[in-house]
């Protein structure tokens, strides 16, 4: 997994609540057996005027000029500011894969769908939780100031304005933080406990043999 330490990036807003994973990456693109290549179809049904199918040349599809990520000022954004319950819905990890492939490394929202939130950490995409009021402030400032950027410092757990006029602190689970900072392989970490897993399994097999076989 790619490390996440600090990020200074252009911010884009997505001003709607309950953005579900079907919107982040529609199901027709889940037919891929790879982890990459989902970026051009991120938010596909909002981003293009026609219906996307796998295998299309996305560069030739008509863009929806009203969709926020199509606006010139947000090109190259790596931080997405979003509303409550972002990423609700399905467990498809294709959602964080698509956000990453598009260029986002960080999402900032007041709350997230549980499984999506979890999936982000496994892929080096940082989902920051800020308060409703702080997110409101960001929506205001990203609209007011073209080229609005933020610095996200994971070690310090801070989202700050480049001119240091404001900084918002965020909470994060210490283990998840460590994994992101170090880019750790979670499976490798877990396998250090192999003996314990074996011991647990043998006890379970003895006590509830009907669960095995």
């Amino acid at each position: 997994m790619e490390k996440f330490t600090t990020l200074n990036g252009l911010v884009a807003p997505l001003d709607r609540a309950n953005v579900d994973t079907d919107q982040i990456i529609p199901k027709q693109f889940l037919k891929s057996i790879r982890r990459t290549g989902f970026g051009p179809n991120l938010f596909d049904s909002w981003r293009y005027l026609n219906t996307g199918e796998p295998g299309m040349d996305n560069a030739r599809r008509p863009l929806n000029p009203d969709f926020v990520l199509n606006q010139a000022r947000y090109q190259g954004a790596s931080i997405l500011v979003a509303r409550a319950n972002f990423g609700c819905g399905s467990s498809r990890e294709h959602a964080p894969w698509a956000l990453l492939d598009f260029g986002f490394r960080c999402v900032i929202a007041p709350s997230y769908g549980d499984i999506f939130f979890n999936n982000c950490f496994k892929n080096g995409l940082l989902p920051v939780v800020l308060t409703q009021a702080e997110v409101e402030r960001l929506f205001h400032d990203v609209a007011a100031f073209p080229g609005f950027r933020l610095t996200v410092d994971l070690a310090q757990q801070l989202v700050s304005y480049p001119d240091a006029s404001r900084a918002f602190r965020f909470e994060i689970d210490p283990f998840r933080k460590l994994c992101l900072l170090e880019g750790l392989d979670e499976i490798g970490l877990t396998l250090r406990h192999s003996d314990k897993i074996h011991a647990f399994e043998e006890r379970r097999r003895a006590e509830q043999p009907w669960l095995f076989g």
Binding site: A17, P26, K27, K31, N118, N119, N123, F175, F200, E201
Partner: protein, 476 residues
Amino acid sequence: MASLVAPQTLYDKLWASHVVHAEDDGTTLLYVDRHLVHEVTSPQAYEGLKLAGRKVWRVDSVVAPADHNTPTTGWERGIAGLEDPTSRLQVETLDANIRAHGARAYFPFLDRNQGIVHVIGPEQGATLPGMTVVCGDSHTSTHGAFACLAHGIGTSEVEHVLATQTLVAKKSRNMLVLVEGALARGVTAKDVALAIIGKVGTAGGTGFAIEYGGSAVRALSMEGRMTLCNMSIEAGARCGMIAVDDRTIEYLRGRPLAPRGELWERAVAHWRTLRSDDGARFDREVRLAAAEIKPQVTWGTSPEMVLPVDARVPDPDREKDPVRREGIERALAYMGLVPNMPLTNIRIDKVFIGSCTNSRIEDLRAAAAIVRGRHVAGSVKLALVVPGSGPVKRQAEKEGLDRVFKDAGFEWREPGCSMCLAMNADRLEPGERSASTSNRNFEGRQGAGGRTHLVSPEMAAAAAVAGHFVDVRQWR
């Protein structure tokens, strides 16, 4: 002598009995008993396993079907019936992965017992009380109906479970949803689920493990309980569960993968302990009166946008919160609905009876009872019945339900996820409107530009006949 152990919830018990290792901060390695695998969320996990040179930790924990991509017609043509080359590649990749790595049971495309992963798990007895059940699919919450700790996981976690038989997790908080009293005629488990989501919202259960209780829940069949637990994720909770009782045990008796003989007796004795202790503490409680629940219809693009069938489409002008108002306006624009129109005036183009929420035999019986001797309205372009599995389909045919549906103008299809998420050919065209027994009404879920109204099987069947929504309580 008073017990020194504090009363535990069912979730507390399930959690505690699966802890392999816990760090001081609560980060826990949780043992996984049953790993359900399907073709869409597993290829990258098997690929990762291979790249790292790792093996599947416990092959006999894996049970897999191909269900999401598979077509519901053309099975007589064999694998050639799977015309979409990308879908076919996924199905064949699953075949290859199971061949290479093994499984306790595999239900490939065209197998006579193939079906939706959350239908076949319980049907085969692959889901047993007290298990942790995971799957790269958010509706894994379904299996909580058997007092399992069951929830969806992402593909990285699928790989993690394949490689280590564990998940890295943190404990959720406890939430109790109590539904007391008797449901009125025509009101089903689906309506209860939708009413709960309408009450708590799609994020109301975020961070919680839900336990459903109360006399109305106990009165549900196992299939009704599965429908209820299935939609926990739509209330934001990763898992929902129900205590073991006689009904749970009777359902499992004799299932292919369930224990037998002396083992069965031992298992049952253990299963009977799988309930919350008296006095167990919940962090949040929600109560609903069963008698007040009416048949539900969603009107918007999130399952929380739901109302009783006798209500009217909401008026955004009456919503004070600006974000919510905009949400309503956007949903109404997408859904092509005008404020204040009665829900029963909404005309539909297609009907879908199926999905892991409502494709079991009782669902099909209930829908068939509504349409028996009647005909699908001329304005309805397509009415589909997609049984949840091969065994459900055969049972329905034995009872003649296929004839009832076909005589009424429904199409009777092969099992699979079908128009629940429209990864195969079954879908809505832009602007088309469905009455659907599935679980998500998100924009484009059933096809780009499609408009989905979630309802119970009875309500979907009645809407098919009438061409618009009707209150099944008045159906004669």
